[in-house]
């Protein structure tokens, strides 16, 4: 816009052309104004661009809308309330209060804690595997590998990201589960360890990509200064490179965490789907995402179970939204900081 108006020679400038040295007036440069419909298209572009914002808003609204009857519908609140979901209840036939997820039993029980514990367990396993491997390989590819090696390794790890999660789930279910059971001598074939490790395969590329970018974004001068001061390479890596890249790595870990919490197909297929509260990682687990995927197709529209599943979806959305916003904000800040430093 600015450039166009500058070219069109504003009126004030004409004074120069009438100075006493000028003999003939130079031809006036004037651009024809852009046709009206150009403005129209610009507005259309802006509207389409806002559709991303609209999509996020609609996602939240329409999931929360289906979950909202939990708060006001008498028929549903008769069966389940927020308090009944969050706090342990003394169910008939049980000796002590417990949080239990049994949505289709005679007395439906919607205790959330088995699902939350399951999600946390799988996430811990996957992050414990994915963070060292993702950051380690990013360090190697960005600092130690020769350029040619890097050009082969990087696309390969990105290829890992391209494997559909249902394929990773399949691999965990059919192949890995038996290996793990034989090697570790586990009681149940499908458990938090198998599904967590399989899940880490989906998380590693996320952490790798962002960490590698962060390592490479560290200004060369930092490394040169450290080397000039007599630091060895490993000292430079540990005390200069790693701290300087840490916001980017943190962002990668955050985005990977969001992916781990929300990933569905891998845990649905490989976690065993037993909703039990236990600290043992070798037990079968049921995560929030897998619960939605497994149960939504069997519920009646509008009943308590349906509403609770949408409530779980809302929880999942809010949790990942929070994690991603923090991660995104960290990336932005890192870029601004490093942009100013170099």
């Amino acid at each position: 816009m600015d450039r166009e108006t500058a070219l069109a020679m504003p009126g004030e400038r004409r004074k120069h052309t009438t100075s006493r040295f000028a003999t003939t007036r130079p031809p006036r440069l004037e651009l024809a104004p852009a046709p009206r419909w150009h403005r129209l298209i610009e507005w259309a572009l802006r509207l389409l661009a806002a559709s991303a914002v609209l999509a996020i808003a609609l996602i939240l609204i329409f999931i929360a809308k289906e979950a909202a009857p939990l708060l006001y519908s008498g028929a549903i609140r008769h069966e389940v309330t927020l308090a009944k979901m969050w706090f342990s209840q003394l169910w008939p036939g049980y000796d002590e209060a417990a949080s239990i997820w049994q949505p289709v039993s005679e007395i439906p029980k919607f205790g959330l804690w088995p699902l939350i514990v399951g999600t946390v367990k799988v996430t811990i396993v996957s992050m414990a595997v994915a963070v060292p491997l993702g950051v380690g390989s990013a360090l190697y590819v960005s600092q130690y590998a020769r350029p040619r090696t890097r050009e082969i390794v990087k696309p390969l790890i990105e290829l890992l990201a391209g494997i559909p999660s249902v394929v990773l789930g399949f691999f965990a279910l059919i192949v890995m589960a038996s290996w793990f059971q034989n090697v570790l001598g586990l009681e149940s074939r499908l458990n938090a360890i198998v599904s967590g490790v399989a899940l880490s395969f989906a998380v590693i590329p996320v952490i790798f990509t962002l960490s590698e970018e962060a390592f490479r974004a560290v200004p060369r001068s930092y490394v040169e200064a450290s080397t000039a001061l007599g630091a060895a390479r490993w000292q430079t890596v540990l005390r200069v490179l790693l701290p300087a890249a840490s916001p980017g790595i943190a962002a990668g870990v955050a985005l990977g965490l969001g992916r781990a919490i929300g990933e569905t197909m891998i845990v649905l297929m490989a976690s065993g789907n037993a909703a039990i509260v236990s600290g043992n990682f070798a037990d079968s687990v049921r995560t929030i995402s897998a619960t939605i995927a497994a149960e939504l197709s069997e519920v009646v529209f509008g009943e308590a179970h349906y509403t609770v599943l949408f409530f779980l979806g809302t929880l999942l959305f809010l949790a990942t939204f929070f994690i991603n916003t923090v991660g995104d904000w960290t990336i932005r800040r890192m870029k601004a900081k490093l942009g100013g430093a170099s």
């Binding site: 395969f201 060895a232 939605i292």
Partner: protein, 328 residues
């Protein structure tokens, strides 16, 4: 070195008297050790990640290739999915991905063009859009499934039925159209990010030259910028297709079917797709061993498809980057 003073000053003196060559030597040994540890451990991490990829691919290729044939790709499943092929699933996927591209790519490209060519960098709308795009990319795929069910099926579909079909269930149920639209929303960030990268690679000089020749902004965008960025836009499209072909969670409740005796008849019918087929065969099959060859071959087809798409995207993107480095 040998003095008869007390032990404390002796130690200090010894340290002071150590020649600089000795000091360098000590430091080099520990540094060599440190460097080696660092290089080896990070190299091992890389090797392990690559090994994981290799093992997965090897296992799938070995067990899947024995059953792969033209017939597998062109026949419908038979005998409770223990024989036959995956032809209907391939057709369903192509239709779904085509609709998804048709709906999603124009919106994504328009968003990227607005963000990169028109939007003032610091305006509130721009920042809002960027945050929305980043978060959209992080929304779990199962949440997209819930959204598709709540918005497209229960709200739009049921609304259309009420208005045009007198309450008869036509669009108010899982359908090809709704699955494709859900997937279009899911892949929107992929298209936006790739397109924006491509737009960034178009040299400033080209835009300026076009403007200096008297073209308007829109003419510049349509005739100069977008053609220059077309390879990058293609990358985004390919990546979106690859993602759409592989995702299962968003279409679980919005249109995918276990088994259909016929191909999808229209926008409102359900469809089969290889990714969902893998899930069904792996988890719902009454006889796992009987379906295993079919299962492995379906996985092989799915992985091969997404890999071909991803490699194509990498190649196109590498070309864009090279172009970019020449431009500056």
């Amino acid at each position: 070195m040998s003095t008869n003073a007390g032990p404390a000053p002796k130690d200090a003196e010894r340290r002071r008297n150590k020649t600089s060559a000795q000091r360098v030597f000590v430091r080099t040994v520990s540094n060599r050790l440190g460097d080696a540890t660092m290089a080896i451990s990070s190299g091992l991490a890389t090797a392990l990640v690559l090994a994981i990829l290799a093992v997965i691919l090897f296992d799938i290729a070995r067990s899947g290739s024995s059953h792969l044939s033209i017939a597998f790709l062109t026949q419908a499943p038979r005998e409770g999915m223990t024989a036959g092929g995956i032809f209907p699933a391939i057709v369903g996927m192509v239709e779904m991905v085509f609709l998804m591209t048709l709906a999603g790519v124009p919106v994504g490209v328009a968003t990227a063009i607005y963000l990169h060519e028109y939007a003032p960098a610091q305006s509130r709308l721009t920042r809002l859009i960027r945050i929305a795009v980043a978060n959209l990319a992080g929304v779990p795929s199962i949440v997209f499934g819930l959204f598709g069910l709540g918005f497209f099926v229960q709200f739009l579909g049921a609304g259309i039925d009420k208005m045009f079909f007198g309450g008869q269930k036509v669009y108010g149920q899982p359908a090809l159209l709704w699955a494709a639209l859900t997937m279009a929303v899911l892949t929107l960030p992929v298209v936006i990010v790739a397109t924006e990268e491509a737009l960034r690679a178009v040299p400033r000089e080209l835009r300026e030259a076009s403007l200096a020749l008297g073209a308007t902004k829109l003419q510049t965008v349509i005739h100069v910028v977008v053609p220059q960025a077309s390879a990058g836009i293609l990358t985004g499209m390919i990546l979106a297709v690859s993602r759409g072909a592989g995702e299962v969670a968003p279409i679980l409740f919005t249109g995918a079917a276990y088994f259909l005796p016929h191909l999808p008849k229209g926008l409102s019918s359900q469809f089969m797709t290889p990714s969902y087929h893998v899930y069904v065969l792996a988890t719902q099959s009454p006889d796992v061993d009987a379906t295993k060859p079919i299962l492995y071959t379906t996985v092989l087809v799915l992985v091969a498809l997404t890999f071909v798409l991803n490699i194509a995207a990498v190649v196109v993107r590498a070309r864009v980057r090279r172009q970019n480095s020449f431009g500056h």
